[in-house]
């Protein structure tokens, strides 16, 4: 466990990708296979479910620390992380024990769930007592089902590739699906015979540049294909040898997250690879992206999720046709083939991305600006003669986004952030004028620099009016420009409106609260 805790610390202490990969490789070089496979298991996000209710853990930790429950909660509010708070308040134990990770997991952690509360407590007390602070922290993360460290699936894959000398896609293929975290499988992951992985291999994604010039500069509009820029998860759907693989742009295999799509893709002809966007979709319209996010966050895809947030594949491009790489054929050719293929798939789960045809850039620009209520982010422009390239290149593909809406609003509530920004006041509520009153209108937290966050935090500390649990009301004084993608009527909100993706565009130090916008002007932004 010490080795794994040390790895956790090393990963936590750096933001540099290379340093993280180095730390992982160093770990694989020294960890026994029985441990390494569990480490991989946890690091790629296959974390155990919560074993003990956190309510109980808080209670036990406070008791062991000899502090009242309210003081534990106050501490938690400052730290912003439960596992960390527990590891900080517990009295020092006898940390001489160094039991390997797999023993901790297999003999202590996994059996815990089925035990009675008092046995659980005894086991956990004894575990805490045998660990130092970092080990306790990692252990707490595991038993609360909240294990997360700043490495992606991809980084683990890369580190394993570097460590073993086997290509990344092969490792990625082997890490997907169901496998048992035992040493046999560890050896299988590192096996030099790579035939097993060929059929799942995706192509590198081709990415568009944001359009940073006048669209007229792109030449004749008829040489371009325009389609909506959908807001979902860019993905490649592969059907080979009667098996379906779905890859995200982050090169994660996400097949299991989208069973309905997997079923639909089974109907594709063998030797087909489609590039598209996974969208939450109902009644011929995309749902809010948050629905998809929520769905992805879930470990298990329940029937309820399939009903509330069903997905489709908005098919953009065809990369492989009848088992052949067709990326160098022209866009127009590929799009025609794609249309033929999608037309044969019943069920409406794979949709050929509709084209937006106009005679002039001006008309196209108008369509783009009016596109907000379609639930899209703008337009994609692709040269009809373009091949499907590799990576991000200027010239043939452009994304043409709708300008965000903005409003000047006043900071009125603040709450401490959790996770990366734990401890500082970083979650804000903003208000706008409703006649003489300020009414809350949006919550936002992203968009400020670290320096600004610290300044705002200091302001909040010094200008608190009232505290309601973790929330503070603050003197209305600071004005921020809030950008958002869309606005709708919403009877559930005090202000009567709901905005999509609100974020802080900038801090308007030049404005006074009298200069903030009013509800009236905001309502005028709603288009029906």
């Amino acid at each position: 466990m010490k080795l794994f805790a040390r790895l956790y610390t090393a990963l936590d202490e750096t933001t540099r990708t290379n340093a993280k990969v180095d730390a992982l490789v160093a770990y694989f070089q020294s960890a026994p296979p029985e441990d390494a496979i569990w480490a991989i298991n946890f690091l790629i996000g296959r974390k155990p479910r919560q074993v003990v209710p956190t309510r109980k853990l808080r209670e036990w930790a406070a008791e062991l620390a000899g502090i009242p429950a309210w003081l534990f909660e106050a501490s938690y509010d400052v730290v912003g992380d439960l596992a960390e708070t527990i590891s900080l308040v517990l009295p020092r134990g006898n940390a001489s024990n160094d039991m390997p990770l797999h023993i901790w997991v297999e003999q202590h952690l996994l059996p815990l769930r089925s035990k009675k509360a008092d046995t659980q407590r005894k086991e956990i007390d004894s575990a805490w007592n045998q660990m130092d602070r970092v080990q306790r922290f990692v252990w707490n993360k595991l038993i609360t089902g909240a294990f997360r460290v700043g490495v992606s699936h991809k980084l683990v894959t890369r580190a394993l590739a570097q460590f073993s000398g086997i290509e990344e896609p092969v490792i990625a293929h082997r890490l997907m699906g169901n496998w048992n975290p035992d040493s046999t499988y560890y050896h299988q992951i590192l096996s030099p015979d790579t035939n097993d992985a060929d059929i799942s291999r995706p192509y590198p994604f081709f990415l568009a540049y944001p359009l940073d010039q006048d669209a007229e500069m792109l030449g004749n509009v008829t040489e371009w294909q325009a389609e909506w820029k959908w807001d979902g998860i860019r993905a490649q759907v592969i059907k080979r040898e009667n098996q379906v693989f779905i890859w995200s742009r982050g090169e994660d295999l996400i097949t299991a997250k989208f069973p309905e799509l997997q079923r639909a893709a089974q109907k594709l002809p063998d030797g087909t690879v489609i590039d598209g966007e996974i969208l939450p979709w109902k009644d011929d319209r995309p749902l809010h992206f948050a629905e998809l996010q929520r769905r992805i966050g879930r470990k298990n895809i329940t029937r309820k999720i399939l009903e509330t947030a069903p997905v489709v594949l908005m098919a953009y491009d065809l990369l492989e046709c009848d088992g052949e790489d067709v990326r160098n054929n022209e866009m127009a050719w590929r799009d025609q083939r794609l249309a033929n293929i999608t037309a044969q798939i019943s069920g409406g789960r794979i949709i050929h991305s509709p084209k937006v045809n106009t005679d002039s850039w001006k008309d196209l620009a108008k369509l783009k600006d009016g596109a907000r209520n379609r639930g899209v982010e703008g337009l994609m422009l692709k040269r009809l003669s373009s091949p499907y390239g590799v990576g991000r290149k200027r010239g043939d593909w452009w994304k043409w986004k709708i300008d965000p809406l903005t409003v000047d609003a006043v900071l009125i509530y603040a709450q401490r952030g959790h996770g990366r920004r734990s401890g500082l006041y970083t979650d804000y509520t903003f208000a706008v004028w409703d006649h003489e009153r300020l009414v809350p209108f949006a919550k936002a937290y992203s968009g400020l620099s670290n320096d600004e966050i610290r300044q705002v935090d200091r302001f909040i500390q010094r200008h608190t009016i009232e505290r309601f649990g973790p929330v503070r009301s603050v003197k209305p004084q600071l004005v921020f420009e809030i950008a958002f993608e869309d606005i709708r009527k919403s009877p559930r909100h005090k202000s009567g409106v709901a905005v999509r993706f609100p974020r802080i565009a900038r801090w308007r130090t030049d404005k006074k609260i009298e200069d903030a916008d009013s509800l009236e002007t905001i309502r005028a932004l709603i288009h029906d």
Partner: protein
């Protein structure tokens, strides 16, 4: 806010002793200021006269200028002001830091200022005092703050420095310029390599040396012409120096921050440093609570930090505690945490 019979009361200028007509760590310029220590949040310029500990005089003048009118007294020696006896006692926080003991006809109040219990080579050790009313800081007044021994922390710093040195990197350690920086420098093994300083730190070093504190040799970064000298060196700088403009002169660096706040992961990540060394010149939860009980005080006023939480806890322990608002709210950047 506090009734007039109280020996010390809180006014808009800070803690005031009406009977003796003096202020302790005032927030505004006053006639007579008794200063616990020279950190910015305890020292205001423009007072007519200052009373400070003998060992703190130099530093106060470095901060406020040579022309200020200062009376300094050795630790433990009492002086009388209108029948009120004042004496200063080591607070163990930084060089010259003092607790202020105020005694009127046997009623004793103590204002702690900032204090730490752990020994520090660069200042006199904290002296426990008995009193009726104790006014304590609470910067780290939550049970999540529990310091490891400084020997362990110094080992960690040494190890980090050696590793960086082996990689040809410059180690930049951010630490508060007054007190923390000198405590670290005094605790380092100078045989490992060169110890370089930011100007703000070097100024205080000079002052410490003049006051008789032994520090290993340090060299002001700006006086170094050959950039080769940065390789493998350890640079001590105040947190505010952490800007690209200042750090660009060093080639390959590893950055770390020494502060009690580094106890919380989120703080270290936000600072964007690779290492956070949990080293504070304040007391941790145990240091604060043990000290409070040791004073034997029935009344405890809590300032600076997690006052609300400490007060609630102390009241639950049967003491008569209350929170005192502070002008300053501690923040990593501009105070001595």
């Amino acid at each position: 806010m506090v009734h007039a019979s109280s020996l010390l009361e809180l006014t808009e200028f800070g803690f005031y002793c009406r009977r003796g007509d003096f202020y302790i760590d005032p927030w505004q310029p006053v006639n007579k200021a008794v200063i616990t220590h020279a950190h910015a949040d305890h020292t205001i310029a423009g007072c007519k006269t200052y009373l400070v500990s003998k060992s703190g005089e130099n530093i106060l003048k470095t901060r406020l200028g040579d022309e200020i009118r200062v009376q300094s007294i050795p630790y433990g020696k009492g002086i009388q002001l209108n029948g009120v006896q004042i004496s200063l006692h080591p607070a163990g926080h930084i060089l010259g830091s003092a607790q202020v003991r105020v005694d009127h006809q046997g009623e004793v109040w103590v204002v702690s200022g900032d204090y730490k219990i752990e020994p520090d080579q660069t200042c006199a050790p904290f002296e426990p005092l008995r009193c009726h009313t104790f006014i304590t800081e609470s910067t780290f007044g939550l049970p999540i703050f529990r310091w490891q021994s400084q020997d362990e922390i110094f080992d960690d710093i040494t190890c980090w420095w050696k590793t960086n040195r082996a990689d040809g990197k410059t180690s930049i350690l951010f630490a508060y310029a007054l007190g923390k920086a000198q405590r670290i420098i005094a605790g380092l093994d100078a045989s490992i390599g060169a110890i370089l300083t930011h100007g703000a730190v070097e100024n205080i070093n000079r002052c410490y040396r003049e006051s008789g504190i032994k520090l290993p040799n340090t060299q002001y970064v700006a006086t170094i012409e050959d950039k080769k000298a940065f390789e493998g060196a350890l640079v001590i700088a105040p947190p505010l120096a952490d800007s690209p403009a200042w750090t660009k002169k060093f080639h390959a660096v590893s950055k770390a921050f020494a502060s009690g706040w580094m106890q919380i992961r989120g703080n270290r990540r936000r600072r964007n440093v690779e290492r956070g060394f949990v080293l504070s010149d304040h007391s941790d939860w145990k240091g604060l609570t043990d000290t409070i009980f040791e004073t034997g005080a029935e009344n405890v006023w809590v300032t600076h930090g997690y006052a609300a939480e400490m007060v609630r806890w102390l009241n639950e322990q049967g003491l008569n505690a209350k929170a005192i608002p502070t002008r300053y709210t501690g923040e990593i950047e501009d105070t001595d945490l």
